[in-house]
Symmetry: C2
């Protein structure tokens, strides 16, 4: 007793004859994007997606392809939502503006950050952000290292968003674990665990502090990477001036 098409009784009629809009690739990806926003990129099933466009699962295969192909199409849309800062900004200012928007966009589609962290976006979707991002690093003097540096920044950004995504889903579990860590705050024999316990206990005690935790963690991670790259850049310039003293 399949429940997919809205009215299983009105069978054998074509979509147009019954007044339902024709299924297209675009409409399917629209629906998948919405499902991803609601429940996460990995948490909807092909049957749910088919039902969302009032069709059978095989219809999705016909118009788009298997589940992974749909996911890639969704990711292209998500990456397309990223707005790029002014291309004339110096590298650090450019990334200081860009990376916070990365978080806010990816957070709207839970699971997208993890996929992007591991595989990156499709080549076509990546071109605008990669070209200007790597371009800013090139202009700053990173040279052949620019792709490495870009990769570090985006991977770190995606990684911390992915952490946030996945821990939200397991909040109860995470609270238990928080209590577990907080219990160590009085262990004078384990000073490392004690400071950790103290900071977690502070989070557990103060909901306002806890609310901004992941945003602060993200900012900290991103800033330290940028600092590290800044130091590396200074190092590269020092090396350069050694080998080309006349320049």
């Amino acid at each position: 007793m399949p429940t997919f098409p809205e009215d299983a009784g009105s069978r054998s009629r074509s979509r147009v004859a019954s007044g339902r809009p024709a299924v297209t690739k675009e409409r399917i990806v629209d629906a998948a994007l919405e499902l991803s926003a609601e429940s996460g990129l990995e948490n909807w099933t092909l049957r749910q997606l088919a039902a969302a466009v009032d069709a059978y699962p095989a219809v999705v295969y016909h118009h788009v392809g298997d589940r992974d192909t749909v996911v890639v199409a969704v990711l292209d849309r998500v990456v397309g939502e990223l707005t790029l800062p002014d291309e004339t900004l110096p590298w650090r200012a450019w990334f200081d503006e860009f990376l916070p928007t990365v978080r806010s966009v990816l957070r709207r589609y839970p699971g997208s950050a993890r996929r992007l962290a591991l595989f990156g976006p499709s080549v076509a979707a990546a071109v605008p952000t990669m070209n200007t991002g790597i371009g800013r690093l090139l202009a700053a003097g990173f040279g052949a290292e620019a792709p490495f540096a870009y990769n570090l920044l985006l991977a770190t950004a995606c990684q911390f968003v992915a952490m946030e995504d996945d821990r939200e889903g397991a909040m109860a579990l995470q609270l238990d674990r928080s209590e577990g860590y907080a219990a160590y705050r009085t262990r004078e024999d384990l000073p490392g665990m004690a400071v950790l316990g103290e900071s977690i206990a502070a989070l557990v005690a103060d909901p306002d502090l806890a609310a901004g935790y992941y945003e602060r963690l993200y900012a900290y991670a991103v800033e330290r990477c940028l600092d590290g790259l800044e130091q590396r850049l200074a190092q590269l310039k020092a090396l350069e001036s050694l080998t080309e003293p006349g320049q």
Copy 2:
């Protein structure tokens, strides 16, 4: 026609009567660890695990619990394989020694890095490494920031190992993508994509260079994070000497 217990014909005999060793939690986790080493933490099924100890799936539930409980037990073993550097080393030397061993251990169990990156290890398993790792950062002067800094370093390490794990599984797909990026190396209108394309083309052309790619990427990421933290530490010390000029 279930094929699990080795000889489906000799039914109704108890394990001991038929000379098969009793199933224990330890033996199940042993098998799961081995399966994880062979095919990855997320790529074995409960039925395969049961078959590996010559038992029915329900036996795993009886002795350990659901699939996720088994995975957590496996992760505890993996984290237990990490050997900690000399506790008296200064923070940077300690992490310079520790983080490469993190990569080599986690790489032996594909998928473990991703799980650890997102959820961290269980509290019990985490204590030794966290306590000394955060302890080294405390001793260096990171103060209350030490857990943040530790988190950044371990998350980055796990993230880049996870990237390596997952891209290996999709090597064909990744090669296609490499060609896609390499094609941009002559695009003078897109200077960022051009350097990226050039570096990818170099990898595609030279297998030796490609073999060490992820190790270099890992080292680069980890070193930039350490550099960033070093700079941050200098900043913290400068602030401290301002507020306590007599100290």
